[in-house]
C-alpha cells in the first residue's frame, strides 16, 4: 500500500486566533477517513490545508502536508460547490475541461453516477433549481471527475435528507473502492462510524483519533447508565443524556452491572467531557 496523504502537526492561526493546533491526520488510499467536530472545531481549516487551498501558518514550523499534484485532487468546498447558473450537464462538462478529463473517459462514468444517484432525469436543469441534496450530489460527482488520488469532501452530507445522504455515501464508497484516499468532515457520529479512520476535533485540537474500534477501546474507566440525571454535583458534570436515559462516565470505575460497553458516540462524549473538566481544572480529567 502507498503511504497516506494528509497533514502532520499542522497549525493555522487567523490573526490572534489559533484555528488548528498541531493536528495530524492521515488519509490512506482506498479508505475513508472522517474528521468529526461541531461548528468551529477546525474541520474546514484542516481540509483546506490538506487540499492545498490554505497554507499552514509560520512556514515549516506550521507542520507538513502530503498531497498529490493539484490535478489529482478532488475537493468539495463548504457551500454549494457547483455553479448555480449552469445546468447539471454543463457543470460536469466545465469541470471535466478544467481537469482536462477527455469526454470519452468522463462521459460513461458521470452517466453511471448520475443514473445511480437520481440526477439523470434533471441533467438539463439549472443547478440553482435543484434541492440541497441534489446539489450536494452533483458537487461530489464533479469532485470525483478527475478520478482523484485524494478526494477531500467538506461536510458533504450536512443538512441533507436521509435519502440523498445514502446516495452521497454510495459515491463516497465508490471513490474509495476505486482507490481514492477519501478525507471527509461530518458533524454526525453515525457517519464517522462508517469510516475506517476517525479524527475528532474540538476547538482546533485533536480530541481522539484512530479506527472507531480504537477510539472506543481507549475510553478510560466505565460508563454507567441511569434512568435520570445524577443528583451528585460531581457526577452531574460527567453525565450526559442519551436516548432517554443518562450516561455517567466513571474515570476509575471497573465494569459492573449497570455499566455499558461504550460506542463511538459515548467515546466522543467522554473525550469532550475530559477536555471540559481539564479546562475547568477539575478531577477526573487525567484518568
Amino acid at each position: 500500500m502507498t503511504a497516506a496523504w494528509g497533514a502532520e502537526a499542522v497549525s493555522v492561526s487567523f490573526g490572534a486566533r489559533r484555528a488548528l493546533d498541531q493536528v495530524t491526520v492521515g488519509a490512506p488510499p482506498g479508505q475513508v477517513t472522517a474528521v468529526v467536530g461541531g461548528d468551529g472545531a477546525g474541520k474546514t481549516t484542516l481540509l483546506r490545508c490538506v487540499a492545498g487551498a490554505l497554507a499552514p501558518s509560520g512556514g515549516p514550523a506550521g507542520g507538513r502536508v502530503r498531497r498529490p499534484a493539484a490535478g489529482r485532487i478532488g475537493y468539495l468546498p463548504p457551500g454549494p460547490g457547483v455553479y448555480d447558473d449552469l445546468t447539471v450537464a454543463e457543470n460536469l462538462r466545465f469541470r471535466s475541461a478544467v481537469y482536462r478529463v477527455p469526454e470519452a473517459a468522463a462521459g460513461p462514468l458521470t452517466g453511471e453516477y448520475l443514473e445511480r444517484t437520481g440526477l439523470a432525469a434533471v441533467r438539463d436543469r439549472l443547478a440553482g433549481q435543484l434541492s440541497g441534496g441534489m446539489r450536494r450530489k452533483l458537487a461530489v460527482i464533479a469532485a470525483m471527475l478527475p478520478g482523484p488520488e485524494l478526494l477531500v469532501l467538506d461536510e458533504p452530507t450536512t443538512g441533507v435528507d436521509p435519502v440523498s445522504r445514502a446516495d452521497l455515501w454510495w459515491l463516497i464508497a465508490r471513490a474509495a473502492a476505486d482507490g481514492a484516499a477519501v478525507l471527509m468532515s461530518t458533524t454526525y457520529l453515525d457517519e464517522a462510524a462508517r469510516a475506517a479512520h476517525v479524527l475528532v476535533l474540538d476547538a482546533g485540537r485533536p480530541l481522539a483519533a484512530g479506527t472507531p474500534a480504537e477510539i472506543v477501546a481507549a475510553v478510560p474507566g466505565t460508563i454507567a447508565v441511569r434512568p435520570g440525571p445524577p443528583a451528585d454535583a460531581d457526577e452531574r458534570r460527567r453525565a450526559w443524556r442519551r436516548a432517554g436515559t443518562w450516561r455517567v462516565w466513571q474515570p476509575d470505575g471497573v465494569p459492573a452491572a449497570g455499566s455499558v460497553r461504550p460506542d463511538l458516540q459515548d467515546a466522543v462524549c467522554v473525550a469532550a467531557l475530559r477536555a471540559e473538566l481539564e479546562r475547568a481544572g477539575l478531577a477526573g480529567a487525567h484518568a
Binding site: 482506498g30 475513508v32 467536530g37 461541531g38 461548528d39 468551529g40 472545531a41 434541492s131 440541497g132 441534496g133 450536512t158 443538512g159 441533507v160 435528507d161 436521509p162 435519502v163 440523498s164 445522504r165 445514502a166 455515501w169 454510495w170 463516497i172 464508497a173 465508490r174 474509495a176 473502492a177 476505486d178 458533524t187 454526525y188 457520529l189 453515525d190 462510524a193 462508517r194 469510516a195 475506517a196 474540538d202 479506527t211 472507531p212 440525571p229 450526559w240 443524556r241 442519551r242 436516548a243 432517554g244 458516540q265 466522543v268 462524549c269 469532550a272 467531557l273 471540559e276
Partner: protein, 284 residues
C-alpha cells in the same frame, strides 16, 4: 391540562395537482417528544405549517389546545426554525431583550455559556451557543407546545446531548414537543416517531417498534471493494460501514449468491433505524 395539545385528524393539503399531505393523523400530548422523519418532499414542512395555523388544510381538521389554530393559540406555541430566527447584528443579550419585549416572558436564568457571550453579536458566537440562545428565546414565554426544526444540526455530540437535556426537561415539565429531523441519532431521543413518505404516515411508534425485527446482511471481506462491486452488479443496495458492508433487507443466502464465491464472512444482524427507514420510504 388537555390530553392532546396539537391534533391533526385525517389532514390533507393539495397544491394544484400535487398532494403534499395525504390523510395524516398526528396527536401530541403533554410530556411527549414526537419526531417527524421523512425525506425532502415527504410533507413534514407542510404538516408543521398546518399545525401552526400558517396554512389551511384542504381537508381534515387541525386543532391546537382543542380549538382551530388562531392568534390566541399561537401565543402558547414556541417555534424554533433551523435558521434560529435570531438577529445576527444584535448581541445575545439584545436578542433576548428584544424577544421578551415582543413575545413576553420572564428574565429566567440563562445557562452559563449564554452569560459568557451576552455582549457578543450572534454572527460572532459559535453555532452551539447560538442554538442555546435560540432555545432560551423560544422557551422564555413558557410555551405549551414546542416545534423544533432540526434543533441540533451542526453542533458537536456533547453539545447535542446538552440541547436534548433542555428539550426533554421542557417535556418533563409538561410541554408537548414536535421535532423534525434528518438525523437518526436525534430521532432516537424522541419518545415517539412518525415516518412520512409521499405525504402519508408509513410508520409510527418508538424507534424500537419501528425498527422491529428488520434484519441486515453484514459482509466482512478482506477485499471490500471487490465485494462492493459484485453486490452492486447484482443490484443489491450496499452500504459501506467502516470495515464491513451492510446490505439492508437482504438475507445471507441472497448475499452469498451475489458474492459469487468471493471469500467473505457473512452474518445477519438487527437493522438500524436508518436502514428500516429506507425500507419504509421505498415501500411507501
Amino acid at each position: 391540562m388537555p390530553e392532546v395539545l396539537a391534533e391533526a385528524t385525517n389532514v390533507s393539503r393539495v397544491f394544484g395537482r400535487f398532494t403534499a399531505v395525504d390523510g395524516v393523523d398526528l396527536a401530541v400530548g403533554p410530556g411527549e417528544v414526537v419526531g417527524l422523519l421523512g425525506a425532502n418532499g415527504a410533507g413534514k414542512t407542510t404538516l408543521i405549517r398546518m399545525l401552526l395555523g400558517l396554512l389551511p388544510a384542504s381537508a381534515g381538521a387541525v386543532r391546537l389546545f382543542g380549538q382551530p389554530p388562531s392568534r390566541a393559540s399561537r401565543r402558547r406555541v414556541g417555534y424554533l426554525p433551523q435558521s434560529l430566527g435570531l438577529y445576527d447584528d444584535l448581541t445575545i443579550a439584545e436578542n433576548a431583550a428584544f424577544s421578551r419585549a415582543v413575545f413576553g416572558g420572564g428574565l429566567g436564568s440563562d445557562p452559563e455559556p449564554l452569560r459568557r457571550y451576552a455582549g457578543v453579536t450572534v454572527r460572532d458566537v459559535p453555532l452551539g451557543v447560538a442554538r442555546r440562545a435560540g432555545f432560551a428565546q423560544v422557551l422564555a414565554h413558557a410555551p405549551e407546545l414546542l416545534l423544533l426544526d432540526e434543533p441540533t444540526s451542526g453542533v458537536d455530540p456533547l453539545a447535542r446531548a446538552r440541547l436534548w437535556e433542555t428539550i426533554s426537561q421542557t417535556a418533563a415539565d409538561g410541554a408537548g414537543v414536535i421535532v423534525t429531523t434528518h438525523n437518526m441519532e436525534e430521532a432516537e431521543e424522541c419518545t415517539r416517531l412518525v415516518v412520512l413518505a409521499g405525504g402519508r404516515v408509513v410508520a409510527a411508534g418508538t424507534a424500537a417498534q419501528i425498527t422491529g425485527q428488520a434484519r441486515t446482511a453484514v459482509v466482512r471481506a478482506a477485499d471490500w471493494a471487490a465485494a462492493l462491486r459484485r453486490l452492486e452488479a447484482a443490484g443489491l443496495r450496499t452500504v459501506l460501514a467502516g470495515p464491513v458492508l451492510r446490505v439492508p433487507g437482504r438475507t445471507v443466502a441472497e448475499v452469498t449468491a451475489a458474492l459469487n464465491d468471493l471469500p467473505a464472512e457473512l452474518s445477519a444482524e438487527p437493522a438500524t433505524l436508518e436502514e428500516r427507514f429506507f425500507e419504509l420510504v421505498a415501500a411507501g
